[in-house]
């Protein structure tokens, strides 16, 4: 299974690079998709523990606004990204102390509450954040080089791909580690985990902090791609979008989030191009179709269709 996932990951990488080279406008869409895939991977870690966060846009926006505020002082992309992840990690640890005590709907709603508070702050602290108009981010340098638009776009896409591959590999390792297995145990039977001497709260806190850092990194990548951040990034629809992508992609593999986000962005773009008035309906129909006919998401669909074929052959 593992080597096959690696093959799929490499094929996906080649596919993304080929698409970006053939259709220049797709570079942007795919970079956004990869960035969101990182955040959805964070959602996936929590999903393993059976917890759904309806507020992960909080970390997306923290990452993005960290970049927006620090860009004048810190001009380089390679410094901004870890900084954004670190800030999100810090906030995630603090908020995690509270939310890791809760499960299920309470966990989800508490996350939603924190993210909406932050959204309101971004809107209300008008003098600092410029409100809904947002902040312009000037194109950062990459490793000290001030790149033109085209090489810069390639650099960010390449970086997003590397991060997706590297962190995806790391997350896959994490999930098979004892700590990752403990996450699954929270979902199946938490009491047994506690009897085994493992603190469920601490396990969830670690996963939560990791997912926050991933969200922050994703937000920073988004800010460096769009070069303009608005409080809309913290709005609950963005959190919903991340959960939507997680369901679309499927939780069976670490590749699910990326598969989901690439398909999501492409469906949205093509739906908006074909039916500018009703693209939301197309997205809704796609999700309904997935829920009804492939409850394990696109990755589940892929497993059913391809892996079974391999096994038979």
């Amino acid at each position: 299974m593992m080597p096959r996932a690696t093959i799929v990951a490499l094929l996906g990488t080649v596919g993304i690079l080929a698409a970006a080279a053939l259709a220049p406008w797709l570079k942007f869409v795919l970079t956004v998709a990869l960035a969101k895939g990182l955040a959805v991977m964070g959602i996936l870690l929590l999903l393993r523990a059976g917890q759904v966060s309806f507020g992960h846009a909080l970390y997306l926006s923290i990452g993005a606004y960290t970049v927006a505020f620090l860009r004048p002082a810190v001009p380089d992309l390679l410094v901004l990204l870890p900084l954004a992840a670190a800030v999100a990690l810090g906030v995630g640890l603090v908020i995690g102390l509270f939310v890791a005590r809760y499960r299920d709907i309470f966990f989800g709603m508490l996350n939603l509450a924190f993210s909406m508070v932050f959204h309101s702050l971004l809107e209300k602290l008008y003098a600092i954040t410029k409100g809904t108009d947002g902040i312009r981010v000037f194109r950062p340098t990459v490793a000290g080089f001030a790149l033109e638009r085209l090489p810069y776009e390639w650099a960010v896409l390449g970086l997003a791909l590397l991060l997706a591959l590297g962190l995806g590999w790391l997350a896959a390792r994490f999930l098979v580690s004892p700590l990752g297995q403990a996450l699954v145990a929270i979902k199946t039977r938490e009491t047994r985990l506690e009897f085994a001497g493992v603190s469920a709260r601490r396990v969830l806190l670690v996963a939560y902090a990791a997912s926050a850092a991933l969200g922050g990194l994703a937000g920073a990548l988004l800010a460096c791609t769009t070069l303009h951040v608005t409080p809309h990034l913290a709005y609950w629809t963005q959190s919903g979008e991340l959960v939507f992508i997680a369901i679309l992609g499927g939780g069976g593999s670490i590749l699910g989030p990326y598969l989901g986000s690439v398909v999501y962005e492409l469906v949205r773009v093509y739906a908006a191009a074909a039916l500018p008035d009703a693209w939301q309906m197309v997205l809704g129909a796609v999700l309904l179709g997935i829920i009804l006919f492939a409850s394990r998401g696109l990755w589940g669909l892929y497993e059913d269709l391809v892996m079974r074929g391999w096994r038979r052959a």
Binding site: W25, V32, G131, D133, T226, L227, Y270, A272, P276
Partner: protein, 438 residues
């Protein structure tokens, strides 16, 4: 999906092959077989009350334009995108329009946040862009753009004009309360009003600054406070569903009988709220836009537009339709002027942008100019509501057309600083009122 995939692969192949051989300006000078115009607007969400009429106006006007030979003999085709999902989606869509669909010009955005994000992208992609509806004055004050112009006024005159009007028709007001939506426009417009009011009419006491959340559906708390405070004037730049609800709830509780309302965006709500909105309310339209415009009402251009818009969409045109018309008429005028100056050959993008700057063009309600910095100059129509038997909703009476010289800050100044330099004498310079005529 299949066809568009094939199309983008084909165009991508072409895009890879051609630019390597030719400088870009040479491509731009070929006369295209059709002129593709990308339009970003709100097709969903609360701001679709402006976005959909804007799109409808574009459909109608482009159809009429094409029947009359298009722009410089080239038919126009619009590609509309939804700006509601946020900046990351909108910027992706703009790239798609420019790099895949190969649009020749963009008409960008209602939201100021969208425009602030699109203008720098236009610069990077060298895409001629007309900012067709967004209002923030920040765009041309904080940066200068070669590839973006705006074919309407901005927040500064949109707020200064109703203030001058209020000071003219009700010079005795002493107290004022504000009820604005809690987002950038609500905050910005209040900052401009407050600064300008302190300069034009010092000593007015602000008794309440209320910023109900964006998207609020209940204003009973605000109305209770306003009933208790009894301000002489209530100022609100709210729009859309929120303004409609606020008007209905305020009318229900007779707030209109106690205070004079100043609603600079209410022209767009008149038909929806009907005669719930009483007489004597000061209303504006973000420019000199009204289907019964006092000086343009009987011109064939406006009369035909109102008639065909009504027969097609069963509504009276509101200000975004006028803004859309201004953007399209400016595009047409600029292309044709540049073609003429070029001796008949198709202009490059840069020539088009140079022509747009300083361009004077006719539109539905008169003639307007785009300033050298890219900012459009248009008069502001402010008036007072009046109930007449001919229409099931209030009409605008006692209209004043404020010229841009009186309400717009000059190039190189910041609007918010400039309004502080206004003097009470500015009120006296306002033109005479024009009464409503059936």
């Amino acid at each position: 999906m299949l066809t568009s995939t094939r199309r983008h692969v084909l165009s991508a192949t072409a895009a890879l092959a051609v630019p390597a051989l030719l400088p870009r300006s040479a491509i731009a000078q070929r006369r295209p077989s059709e002129l593709k115009v990308g339009i970003s607007t709100f097709l969903s969400g609360p701001a679709s009350v402006f976005g959909v009429p804007g799109r409808n106006a574009a459909d109608l006007l482009i159809e009429q334009m094409n029947r009359a030979g298009g722009i410089g003999g080239v038919p126009v085709r619009s590609i509309v995108i939804d700006e509601a999902p946020g900046v990351d989606f909108l910027l992706g869509e703009c790239r798609r329009l420019v790099q895949n669909e190969g649009v020749d010009a963009m008409l960008a955005s209602i939201s100021s946040g969208s425009c602030l994000a699109v203008a720098p992208l236009a610069e990077q992609l060298r895409m001629p862009t007309i900012l067709w509806d967004c209002g923030t004055q920040r765009i041309f004050e904080e940066a200068s753009y070669r590839y973006a112009v705006r074919t309407q006024a901005n927040a500064v005159p949109e707020i200064v004009a109703p203030l001058l009007y209020l000071a003219k028709v009700r010079p005795d007001f002493r107290t004022l309360a504000v009820v604005n939506q809690d987002y950038a426009w609500g905050r910005d417009s209040w900052a401009i009003w407050k600064a300008a009011m302190d300069a034009v009419k010092p000593g007015v006491r602000v008794v309440a600054e209320l910023f109900p959340r964006f998207g609020a559906t209940d204003f009973s708390t605000e109305i209770t406070r306003l009933l208790a405070l009894r301000p002489d004037v209530i100022f609100s730049t709210s729009w859309g569903g929120e303004l409609d609800t606020f008007i209905r709830q305020a009318a229900e509780r007779r707030l209109f009988e106690r205070s004079t309302f100043v609603l600079p965006l209410a022209e767009s709500s008149l038909e929806r709220v009907g005669k719930t909105l009483p007489e004597g309310v000061i209303v504006g339209a973000r420019g000199d836009h009204w289907f019964l415009h006092p000086t343009a009402k009987d011109t064939p251009l406006l009369r035909d537009f109102v008639q065909s818009y009504r027969s097609r969409f069963n509504l009276y045109p509101i200000y975004p339709t006028f803004h859309m018309a201004q953007a399209l008429f400016a595009l047409k005028a600029a292309y044709e002027k540049a073609i003429a100056a070029n001796g008949g050959t198709w202009p490059s993008r840069e020539q088009l942008m140079d022509t747009l700057r300083g361009l004077e063009f006719d539109h539905l309600t008169g003639r307007m100019k785009i300033r050298e910095d890219g900012q459009g100059l248009e008069p502001m129509l402010i008036g007072m509501t009046k109930h007449v038997p001919e229409y099931p909703f209030p009409v605008i009476d006692r209209m004043v057309l404020f010229p841009p010289e009186l309400t717009m800050n000059p190039i190189g100044t910041k609007g918010l600083d400039w309004v502080r330099l206004l003097t009470p004498a500015a009120v006296q310079r306002a033109p005479a009122e024009i009464p409503y005529r059936a």
